[in-house]
Every structure is written in C-alpha cells, then in structure tokens.
C-alpha cells in the first residue's frame, strides 16, 4: 500500500512552557485551519499567544479600530504573543482562511 508523508506536523514542546496550575491557557492553536477557541477573555496587557501548529501558513489579524494588528504570514512551528492596552472586543480572523474567526474580550 502506498503511504504518504503527511504535510502535518505535531507540536513536541510547549512554546510558552508550563503556565502553572490554575493559570488559564492563553495559547490559541491553529491546527486544522481552526482556532482552538472561539472566545477568550484577557486582561489588558496580558499576552495571548497565537501558535501555528497547523501544516500551512496563517495570517492572524484584526481590523479592530482600537486594537487592530496583523501578524503577517506566520509559518508552521512559530508562536507569537499579542497583548492589548485598551479594553474592548477584538474580532480576530486569519486573512488567508477567513473561516477562522474568534473573539478576544479585553478587560480592565
């Protein structure tokens, strides 16, 4: 039977280390062209980490008026933290795969 080396890759090591017991996980995974969570609440200045554990590049961004950002093309195997200084709701998409959509609620 013909077998295939998958384009898929798996994460071996947590990028941000052990957050510790009782600390919410602020890592958003992108595997399978899906965000691992639909809604996340973070405090102002608290980083949320976008981890590309998928097989293709993603482009995480928000056109939020106050908290807009664009991570650019993010390759598999990289993680990037983002934090916000203004409270409010931030709608996040992947520009390349706009079915990927999530909401970050930034609280005071």
């Amino acid at each position: 039977m013909r077998c295939f080396i998958p384009i898929a890759a798996v994460l071996l090591v947590s990028p941000w280390g052990d957050a510790g017991a009782g600390v919410p996980d602020r890592t958003v995974h992108q595997k399978g062209r899906k965000f691992s969570v639909e809604d996340v609440t973070v405090a102002r200045h608290e980083p949320i980490v976008f981890l590309n554990d998928d097989t293709v590049p993603h482009n995480i961004m928000s056109t939020s008026a106050e908290n807009g950002f664009d991570l650019g093309s993010q390759m598999p195997g990289t993680a990037i933290p983002v934090s916000f200084s203004i409270a409010g709701t931030v709608v996040v998409i992947c520009a390349i795969h706009p079915r990927m959509e999530m909401t970050i609620k930034v609280t005071d």
């Binding site: 384009i7 890759a9 798996v10 056109t63 950002f69 093309s73 990289t78 983002v82 934090s83 706009p98």
Partner: protein
C-alpha cells in the same frame, strides 16, 4: 530527517522576516516570534487520506434561508430571466451556463453592452458549501452575492428597485413569489433568497474519483492514482485544495503576473492579500477552462506547469507557491487525477418565462 532539517531552516528564514505588520497601533503590542520544535506526525495510510475526500450525503441550507421547492423553482426561473439585466440581454445563465459546468468557457466574462469584464466567470457549482463568494470574497453569503452582478454597472447594470417594480408588474411572477414567500412581497431580499436557494441545488454528480474513494479500485487509472498521491504530497496542491470540493475557501497570491490586487482591495494593508484570490474548488475542473481568476492559462497542463514553475516572485506570493521540481510524467499524472473529478453535470434547459 533531511526534510525535517530543511523545514527548520525554512521556519527560521521565514520567521526572521515576519512582523512586517501593516495593521497595528499602539494599543496592540506584538511580541517576538518563538520557534517550536516540530516533527512529522505518523505516516497516514492511503485510506485515511482518501476519507478526507468523501463527498457529503446532504446539501447544507442555512436556517435563515431553508430549502423549499417553491423557492428553488422561482430561483431557477429568475436565474434564466434576461429581464434581470437593465438592457434585457443578460441573465445569470449568460455567465453560468450548465453546458460550461456553470461557468461561461471564456477567459473573461462578458458584461453590459458586451463589454469584457476584468475576471473569469467562476463556476457556481457546489456553492452550497462555499464561504465568502466572488474571486475577492467580497460577498459574505450567497444571498449577498446574488445582488452583486445584478447591480454592478459593468455586469447586469440593473437597479434593484427598478427590478422589483418590473417583477411586480408580471402576473406569473406575483404568483411564483406568493407561493415561495407567502407572507412577504417581492423585494431584493426575496429575489436573492430564491436565486441562492436554486444555486445551492446545483451540485456536481458522482465522478470517477468519488467511485474510487468509495472503494471501486478500477474507477480511475493508475496515472490518476499516482497523480492523487502527488497532489497530496510532492506537489502540495492539497495545502489549499482540500476536502471533497478540493478547496480551503481561502485567498492566496498564486504568482500570476497581472495587476489585479484581488482581495487586496478589501484588505489594502495586509501583504498576503495583495493579488490574492479565492481558491476555486476543483470539481469538473477538466471542463472549466480556461483557468485562474484571469483566464490566462488555457489548459490543466498549463495550470500544473505554472505551479511547478512557481509563478512570479513578489512579497505577497503565498509561501506555498514555489518551484516543485515535478517531472513531465508527474505533471501528466496530476492532470490525469484532475480529470477524474469530472461528473455528468445535468444540463438545464431554460424554463418557461413568466408573462
């Protein structure tokens, strides 16, 4: 291990060029890129891979615009009616003809007063599963999309208000709308919902590829089977052309040398969206040429050759588009695979027009 090492190097190179942010302000702080140790997951068996391409059993209709036969029938009539255009010369069928697998067989569409349009008319087959329509994704839903070519001055150039008034004057249409929308009048919304419902019923039939996926080992040729393996591995087609429709409903700059910025019109500050166009599904691909958003490639062989060469280098070009090193035989195998996606699409004659 060589591939793995190469991948790590690639990650480092790309990561070093990240953070070229077009949208940012003081309120959002983006930190440094961290690199993660990764390795390939266990090898997948062929049947596991094939299962990802199995066609669904049901057409999905949104709860906000559920299927009824009266609505689909009305939509089919409207779809064929040239009175939807301002000069009475164009219907939806003009660019989405069942004989051309619901495209028009041209490199560029033909619009109002026979003027050529900027992009190729996409096939609307299998739209029920789609997300964000038009080449640049400018319409979020099929209902939203329907109004765009009708009111676009370059296409059907029709005022929606004028269209509603014109349809209200036609007795048969009053009856058809009344049957499809018992509690509503003729509006641009009910027109759009009827046409969208009809469009969702246009689905590719079972192709040789589907029979192979379902276990008929003789349904496709050996070159096509080799092409399927290449499609999922060396040629990397499946990075974007995934699932039973062979699309990710995403937007990519595939390195075609034209000036059209595509989705960049909607996201002018996002680098990856410059020259990016929606990934088309590949069902009926062999009967849908010429190809690409600009109709610039005449055959499937030319499309495969384009991806093998990698197109033109520019900052917005997808990282997934790069020279592939495919042999001539491998390229022919890919075309053989794509030809297995052709089904017996039902030809649709125009219905009697309301008077």
């Amino acid at each position: 291990m060589t591939n793995r090492a190469a991948f790590r190097v690639l990650v480092l190179i790309i990561a070093s060029t990240l953070m070229s942010s077009g949208i940012s302000n003081a309120a959002a702080l983006v930190g440094d890129v961290r690199h993660i140790e990764i390795e390939a997951s266990p090898v997948h068996a062929l049947d596991e891979l094939m299962s990802k391409y199995r066609r669904p059993d049901f057409i999905p209709f949104p709860a906000s615009d559920a299927y009824t036969s009266a609505k689909a029938f009305l939509g089919r009539v409207l779809f064929n009616d040239t009175r939807l255009s301002s000069n009475g010369g164009l219907s939806c069928v003009s660019c989405h003809n069942s004989g051309f697998s619901y495209g028009d067989g041209r490199a560029k569409g033909i619009g109002d007063r026979m003027n050529p349009l900027d992009r190729r008319s996409p096939s609307i087959l299998n739209s029920a599963w789609g997300d964000r329509f038009m080449w640049d994704g400018g319409a979020a839903t099929l209902e939203e999309q329907v109004a765009e070519p009708i009111k676009n001055p370059s296409e059907m150039n029709q005022s929606l208000d004028r269209l509603v008034n014109a349809l209200q004057e036609i007795g048969d249409y009053r009856s058809l709308f009344s049957a499809a929308f018992p509690d509503q009048s003729i509006t641009s919304q009910t027109i759009a919902r009827a046409i969208a419902t009809y469009e969702r019923t246009l689905v590719s039939s079972i192709a040789p590829f589907d029979r192979w996926i379902d276990g008929d080992n003789d349904a496709v040729t050996e070159p096509a089977k080799r092409g399927f393996a290449l499609f999922n591995a060396k040629a990397q087609c499946a990075s974007c052309h995934s699932g039973w429709l062979l699309t990710d409903d995403g937007f990519h700059d595939t390195g075609l040398p034209d000036e059209d910025v595509g989705r960049g019109r909607l996201f002018p500050n996002v680098l990856a969206m410059q020259h990016a166009f929606k990934t088309p599904n590949l069902r009926e691909a062999a009967r849908r040429g010429p190809y690409m958003h600009d109709g610039s490639l005449p055959t499937l062989a030319a499309v495969v050759a384009h991806y093998n060469q990698g197109g033109i280098k520019r900052p917005s070009r997808s990282e997934l588009v790069a020279p592939l090193g495919l042999s001539q035989e491998e390229q022919m195998d890919l075309v053989a695979f794509l030809q297995t996606l052709t089904s017996d699409v039902r030809l649709d004659a125009a219905p009697a027009m309301p008077r």
